[in-house]
Symmetry: C2
Subunit: 292 residues, 2 copies
Amino acid sequence: MTIALLAAAAALVQATPAPAAAPAAKPYDALPGDWVAVPDDEMLVFTLGNGRRFVVRLAPSRYVPVHVDNIRRIARAKWWDGESVYRVQDNYVAQWGDATEKKPLPAGVVANPPAEYSWPAFDAVATLSKGDPYATKAGYSRDGWPLATNGREAWIPHCYGMVGVARDLAPSTGSGGDLYTNIGHAPRHLDRNIVIVGRVIEGIDALSTLPRGTGGGLGLYEDPKQYVPIVSARLASDLPAAERPRYQYRKTEGPRFAAWIAARENREPPFFTVPAGGADICNALPPVRKTP
Amino acid sequence: MTIALLAAAAALVQATPAPAAAPAAKPYDALPGDWVAVPDDEMLVFTLGNGRRFVVRLAPSRYVPVHVDNIRRIARAKWWDGESVYRVQDNYVAQWGDATEKKPLPAGVVANPPAEYSWPAFDAVATLSKGDPYATKAGYSRDGWPLATNGREAWIPHCYGMVGVARDLAPSTGSGGDLYTNIGHAPRHLDRNIVIVGRVIEGIDALSTLPRGTGGGLGLYEDPKQYVPIVSARLASDLPAAERPRYQYRKTEGPRFAAWIAARENREPPFFTVPAGGADICNALPPVRKTP
C-alpha cells in the first residue's frame, strides 16, 4: 500500500493544490508570490440541502462574455435557490438547475447567447510538450485556465471538474440555468460543442459521491424525491466578507511553472520508474488552492 | 436539459453497453453475433458490506500471467473476505485489500511477480486514428481490451474503471492483494509503472460514490470505522451457476467495430455540430454489456 500512496501523492499535485512552499525545495515548487487570489466575483458558491457546498470559479469574460454574464445575473436573481441537482451519471456528469425546464429566466438574461464554444486566439502563456487527439496543442492561460487549440481556434477543454452549460439542439447554446460538471474521464468530444463556463474549485466530491441516477440510462433521478436541493447559489462578492471562500490560482508564466509542467509530464522516482514523456491537459490541470 | 441528455446518450455508448441491436440500424451497431461471453473464470465478484457488489473482469493471462494467477489464488483462498475498501481519493482511485499490510498471502501466491507492466507485441486488431500524449498508437485487443503502444512495447492503459495492483517502491510490483480502480480522469502517468490486471464491468458506482477519505491527502479513511467491508470475493466460476454474473464483450474485428470507432471519433449530429476527428482510448473503451 505504501507506494500506491506515493502514486497518489503524485496525482495529488494535479487533484488539489500543491502545499505552500517557501523557500522552494524543487524547481517546480511555487513561491508564495506565485499564487494569485481568485476574484470574489469569479466564485459562485452553491449550498446544497445535504449540508455540502461547492464553489465554481467562473471562466474569464474575455472567452465567454455572454454566458458568464448570464450566470452572474441568474445567481443575483437567486434563480437557483430551491432548484436541484437532478442528474448524476457515472463517469460522465452531475447536472443541476431547473429539472422542469419551465422556470422563467431572470430579466436581462440572454435566452440563447452566441455559441461561445471557442475563440480565435490561443493565448496560452505555457504549453504542454505534446498535443492530444482533440487538440494540436494545449496549455495554460495567464489566469490559470487550461486551453486547447487546433491552430484555428482555442477553447477550454472538457476536463474533470469543468462546468458546462446544458443546451438543447443547435442553434440552442443554453442560457446557463442548467449546468453540469464532469465527474469522470474527460468527455473531450464535447469540446467546441458546448460552452465551458467554469471549474469546480471546492467540493467536487459533494457532486461526485452522489448516488447515480437510473433514468433513461442518462443518470436522471427518476423520483423527484431523489433530487438534491440547492439551498442557495451566490457570487462570493455578494456574500458577507466573512463567508466568502478564498482561493488562489498559480501563476502559469515563468520557469517554475515550466518546471511544474515538465514534472507533470515526467513523474519523478522513486515511485515512477518510467516517465511518460508527456501529459494530457486534463491530467495536468492548473493548480488552485485554498488561500493559506 | 433535453439536449444534454443526447450528449449523455453519446457518452453512454462508452460508459455502458450499447443496447442489443438486431437488425443493425447503423453501420456501427453490433449484431447479436458480435457479442462474446466473458468466461466465468475471468470474472471476480466482490460483495461489500453495504449490500453492493462489483465485478472485475480479469486481464488476459497472455499479458499478465503471474499477477492474474496470483489474484485467482487469492480469491480462491478467500483472502479478501473480511478485508475492506480503505481508500477513496476523488478523481483518482478507490483501493481495497488489507489495510494493515500484515496479512500473510495464501500459499502459492508469488509475493513479488515480474514487472508485467508492458509486453513487446501490440496485438491490437483495431486502432484509433490518432495517438495520444502517452502512446503513439492505441487500439483494441481481439478479446475486448484497450491497448496502447509506443512502438516498442504495449500495455493496457490506466482508464476509468481499470483495476491495478498497488505496489511498494520498485522492485516491488505488488502481489495483487491490494487493488485499486480509477474513478476519475485516466491517470495515464501510471501506465508502464503499475500492472493493470482487470476492469470493473459491473458496479463501479459502488466504489465511485463512496465518501472520499481525508487521510494524508491521499483519500485514506482515517478511522477504520469508515472502512467498507468486503464480505466476499469469488471467481464467477466458483459460484453456483445461478449466482454467476453474465457479461459479454463486443468483437473488435470487422467493419462494424471499425465503424463504431469512427463514430466515437466523430460524434453524430444533431447534437454534435463539430466532430472531434479523434478520440483518446479512455474515451472510447471497448463495449461490455450484461448478457441479454
